[in-house]
């Protein structure tokens, strides 16, 4: 099984009349692709039924079909023919060099006739013809030949899919096989290949040596699952062609690559044909390798051809022996896989096409005991081989990645990966962009893929045209970021766009949305919650709202499923989050609360299940026990991981479990915590509580603090009586939040600060009790119960407050305290739960023992008396909020948890 991989970096410079690096294509065409194709057509015309696999990289295909480059190649050929005429004249009396000059002139004429006259500059059409006649099996490769293990997985789909699409566009047929650039494989790639309809690829020998369940036989394919088979490179045939000591191309009769007239002749004679002011290759080489000496002998064409035929015969003899040996040891016919860079044949090894033609002719003979095959033919006849797994490998140095990551090139990866991240975010945030925005996104995708080409890192490693490679990488990334900024700002500049498209017009069918599809990373997150705006009963609803928006802003699609709210539509998009609301019979606040929860969960499970017929999540995120029943059912139905956030526990809220309802809720919480793949809590206090109460498996709990959006709370305007000192409480009116403690501390505060006034905001079952206490203590004119307040009112109160107090007896986190800190209000809190972790006493606030009214009163009085100190504490608190509790940070940490459970 001969596999030739044809690839060149995408080089095209319309901005100049000629560009030196475009000669890489012209040289490969002249010395490799055209001679090989002429040979194959000759064999077909002679009814030789050879078979060969040719992998054509998309950048090379794009260049070969580009009219600009086709035209420039023709002009290059004309220049070479002028040089050939001069050489023929110069060497006409030289018996050694004269015949060679004629040979080169004749070859160039034949090349021009083949390329321009016979195939209309479309060598691709010749390969297509050979594929249709069954002589060539055509493969594709990654779009820009990216070293796939070193790009983020989000780039695998666009690289592979774009390559596939290009192949289909150019050849009119789908490829079945793909050449992984540099034979670089990473576990998981086979799933992506399978999804894209690709079935075979080649890996280096070492991958098979290290496979499980034990070293795989390189003489048969290895089935990696999903119908995808890997073929392992045969080390013997590689050594015979590639080995620097024993390999064929080093034979003394073969043409010496380095003895070119571009270096040998006086500069003035060759300058018009060089393509740059520097000396370089012209293709006119008159000497043979000879041996390990600088005294090279003249090249003898017929001797070299004879040697190539001799080497072909030797190659075949060795294959016959090899296959005869392995035939005894394998259940099905052994296959010897011989992959090579196509450019070896003709460019680096001038006689390579002659060698190959001899090999193909002899192996295609009916008398040959060894048959030529292709991966498709082999697998169709004999199957994909035994099952196994392989690991990261490549055909680079030592079989892994050192060529592409080393001190010469390691600097590129942070830049490429940042661009990949941005492209994925853009693609996910704008799934239906059209017009100039769509164009800009597609061009950004092209620029990114061009930056991802493995060629740049390779060239930096080899130290050859490093400046060119560096400039290309830099240029593509800079243009990418320019386009990305334009898209984000909503004003794509047509001039910038047109210039970029003109410079790099490859992949006309590129689709930027391919970057928004990921294989292993979390795509859609579906959140279950019993409250979501406009239905806000406590911190949970606000938390889910802010988290979901921050995730969506970071490029992670989020759907929220909750209960219906009168006046709100059943489905809507709020700040990038799709919200689904399901009607639930009855009201939770009246009647049987537990029965309502059951009905709510039933409606939630049914509703989410219905939505899942058209879309799928990769993770369900359940918030508190209130949605646990639905989460469990959906985990069973959809088979996706569940992440649960425990905002508070029943035992903590009630300071123990005292009745049947509380014990039931505790049981539901236990089920949720022990069944979830990960449990998120907002503080170390909560982590310890959850651990003690529910005993989840080790490593299941993750602590991520609640976040706050400072912008939301800094809009208030001061509005109060001049001397009044507002003591503000915001929170549910329940025992565990401690409003009763604060009320009891008020008389002591008023004794020292008679101008103080307590404002209590919130609703809850304790309201009536608090009113009665106010009356009993005679505090009616220094206390105000506002009930529920809107965010706007809350912000005004925060702006007016001298101090905010959170005297909780039980507090998993204390998001309202965080909001007060964000608003720049000095805070006094109970030294309990999450509050104790947020506040550093005397640094960004004051902590007092929970439930101790005297200590609470003393702390509040100090805050009101020492305004400088209070302001200093508030300033530090504000800085801490900005640093540690921004929703962008929280969302990123949460996304990390999703990746852990899905990866």
């Amino acid at each position: 099984m001969l596999v030739l991989h044809a690839h060149l970096p995408y080089v095209r410079h319309p901005e100049r009349p000629a560009y030196l690096e475009e000669r890489w294509l012209f040289e490969a065409l002249t010395e490799c692709y055209i001679p090989l194709t002429i040979s194959w057509l000759r064999l077909r015309d002679a009814d030789i039924a050879f078979r060969l696999t040719l992998s054509l990289s998309p950048p090379l295909a794009a260049m070969l079909t580009d009219p600009l480059l086709q035209d420039r190649y023709l002009r290059h050929l004309e220049l070479l023919l002028q040089l050939a005429a001069r050489e023929e004249k110069r060497t006409q009396l030289d018996p050694d060099l004269g015949p060679l000059a004629i040979m080169y002139r004749e070859n160039l004429e034949q090349t021009r006739e083949f390329f321009r006259d016979r195939w209309g500059c479309q060598i691709i059409a010749a390969w297509q013809s050979l594929a249709l006649s069954g002589h060539l099996e055509l493969w594709t490769s990654a779009a820009t030949h990216a070293f796939l293990p070193y790009v983020t997985e989000a780039s695998w789909v666009p690289q592979i899919r774009t390559g596939f699409r290009e192949h289909r566009r150019i050849f009119g047929q789908d490829p079945r096989g793909i050449w992984l650039p540099e034979c670089a494989y990473m576990p998981g790639l086979e799933k992506t290949l399978a999804r894209e309809g690709l079935r075979f690829f080649v890996v280096d020998t070492g991958a098979f040596d290290r496979s499980v369940p034990g070293p795989a036989n390189v003489y048969q394919p290895l089935h990696l699952g999903n119908g995808v088979a890997a073929f392992g490179r045969d080390p013997e045939t590689s050594q015979q062609v590639w080995d620097q000591r024993a390999g064929y191309p080093g034979d003394g009769d073969y043409r010496d690559f380095y003895r070119d007239i571009g270096y040998d002749l006086p500069y003035a004679q060759v300058a018009p044909f060089l393509g740059s002011p520097e000396r370089g290759d012209t293709g006119f080489k008159y000497y043979r390798i000879t041996g390990d000496t600088d005294r090279k002998e003249p090249y003898r064409q017929e001797r070299a051809k004879a040697k190539a035929a001799q080497h072909a015969a030797d190659f075949i003899t060795n294959r016959e022996r090899q296959i005869a040996y392995w035939q005894e040891k394998t259940a099905q016919p052994p296959v010897v896989v011989s992959p090579y860079d196509a450019e070896l044949f003709g460019h680096w090894w001038y006689e390579g096409p002659v060698f190959l033609e001899n090999v193909l002719k002899q192996l295609a003979s009916p008398a040959s005991p060894v048959a030529l095959t292709t991966p498709s033919l082999y697998v169709d006849d004999f199957g994909p081989g035994p099952a196994g797994r392989i690991f990261f490998s490549s055909w680079g140095a030592e079989g892994f990645g050192k060529v592409w990551v080393n001190p010469a090139n390691d600097w590129i990866y942070r830049h490429v990966h940042q661009a990949e991240k941005e492209m994925a975010a853009l693609a996910t945030a704008m799934p239906a962009a059209t017009g100039e925005t769509g164009r800009a996104l597609n061009q950004a995708a092209r620029e990114l893929m061009l930056a991802q080409a493995s060629d740049w890192a390779f060239i930096m490693s080899t130290g050859t045209t490093v400046k060119y490679a560096t400039e290309r990488l830099r240029e593509h990334l800079l243009v990418f970021w320019q386009l990305a900024r334009m898209v984000r700002q909503g004003n794509p500049d047509p001039a910038v766009l047109t210039t970029a498209e003109w410079r790099y017009p490859l992949f006309p069918d590129v689709d930027y949305r391919d970057f928004g599809l990921t294989t292993e990373s979390p795509a859609a997150v579906w959140m279950l919650t019993w409250e979501y705006p406009p239905r806000i009963l406590g911190g949970l609803g606000r938390h889910v709202a802010d988290l979901s928006k921050a995730l969506a802003a970071g490029g992670i699609p989020v759907r929220v499923f909750t209960c219906a709210v009168p006046g709100s539509p059943p489905v809507e998009v709020i700040d990038g989050v799709q919200v689904h609301r399901f009607s639930v019979p009855g009201e939770p606040e009246t009647g049987d609360f537990l029965a309502w929860i059951w009905r709510f969960n039933a409606c939630l499970a049914a509703g989410v299940s219905a939505v899942s017929e058209a879309a799928r999540p990769v993770v369900i995120h359940a918030h508190d026990w209130l949605v646990a029943i639905a989460a469990k059912e959906l985990h069973r139905l959809l088979a996706v991981p569940v992440v649960a956030t425990i905002h508070a526990t029943e035992s903590g809220r009630q300071q123990g479990l005292h009745n049947h309802l509380q014990r039931y809720i505790h049981g539901v919480e236990t089920d949720l915590v022990t069944g979830a793949d990960r449990v998120i809590v907002c503080s170390e206090f909560m982590a310890a509580e959850v651990r003690n109460l529910f005993k989840p498996p080790v490593g299941r709990i993750v602590t991520i603090p609640n976040g706050v959006n400072p912008v939301n709370v800094r809009t208030g305007q001061l509005s109060k009586a001049p001397d009044e000192e507002i003591i503000l409480y915001i929170g549910r009116l329940v025992t565990e939040k401690g409003p009763g403690v604060l009320l009891e501390a008020l008389p002591a505060i008023l004794a020292t600060r008679p101008q103080a006034k307590l404002v209590i905001c919130g609703r809850g079952p304790l309201e009536q009790e608090l009113r009665e206490k106010i009356a009993t203590l005679g505090l009616a004119d220094r206390t105000e119960l506002t009930g529920f307040v809107t965010d706007e009112t809350r912000n005004h109160l925060l702006a007016a407050a001298a101090v905010a107090v959170f005297p909780s007896l039980y507090e998993p986190f204390g998001i309202v305290a965080l909001e007060a800190m964000a608003a720049g209000v000095p805070v006094v809190v109970s030294d309990t739960g999450g509050l104790a972790e947020i506040i550093q006493n005397g640094v960004n606030g004051v902590k007092v023992p929970p439930g101790e009214t005297a200590a609470l009163a003393g702390a509040v009085i100090q805050m009101l008396e020492d305004r400088n100190r209070a302001q200093a504490l508030a300033n530090q608190a504000r800085k801490d909020v900005d640093s540690f509790y921004a929703w962008e940070v929280i969302a990123r940490e949460t996304a990390q948890v999703y990746r852990q459970v899905t990866g």
């Binding site: 390999g247 070896l344 990261f392 140095a397 892994f400 050192k402 080393n406 990966h417 390779f458």
Partner: protein, 159 residues
């Protein structure tokens, strides 16, 4: 000539596996995070450490043990970690040392798998880390290339 940014002012940590025993890691701490950590610790400079954990066991029953712990030189943004356990699943954490026994994690990586080796393939490298590479030019091409009369011939593109 416009240059690529020196930094992106984001918190991130990237890992590229080089071979069964070596990985390349690169990272950045955003100015916000760095400032916040300095403010919290009351320090003007940060002592950052990288800790590599190798996991053993099956999925869901992984046991993590620390395989490497290195104090990072100031102002570095990348490192090569050598002498790693072939075949292990690894996670990298970068954090600041806030005091004895206090390691605040600032960046964490996803788990990455090191490929296994063939028997006898392990190289003794002394487990040295470097920010500038091994100091010797790596063998660039695994596939042997014929040498037409010259001592060194790269199958790359001529300059």
């Amino acid at each position: 000539m416009e240059q690529l940014p020196q930094a992106y002012d984001q918190d991130y940590l990237g890992i590229l596996v080089l071979d069964p025993q070596q990985m390349f890691i690169y990272w950045e701490l955003s100015s916000l995070t760095a400032k916040a950590v300095r403010a919290r610790e009351g320090e003007t400079t940060l002592e950052l450490q990288v800790r590599l954990f190798a996991g053993t066991g099956e999925t869901g029953k992984v046991t993590w043990h620390i395989a490497r712990q290195v104090t990072l030189p100031p102002e570095t943004g990348h490192m090569y970690l050598n002498g790693l356990p072939p075949g292990a699943v690894c996670r990298v954490l970068i954090g600041n040392v806030a005091g004895p026994g206090c390691f605040n994690v600032l960046l964490t990586s996803e788990p990455v798998a090191l490929p296994p080796v063939r028997p006898g393939e392990t190289k003794e490298s002394g487990g040295k880390e470097s920010t500038v590479g091994a100091g010797e030019r790596p063998e660039l091409l695994g596939r042997p290339v014929g040498v037409p009369g010259s001592p060194a011939w790269l199958a790359g593109w001529h300059s």
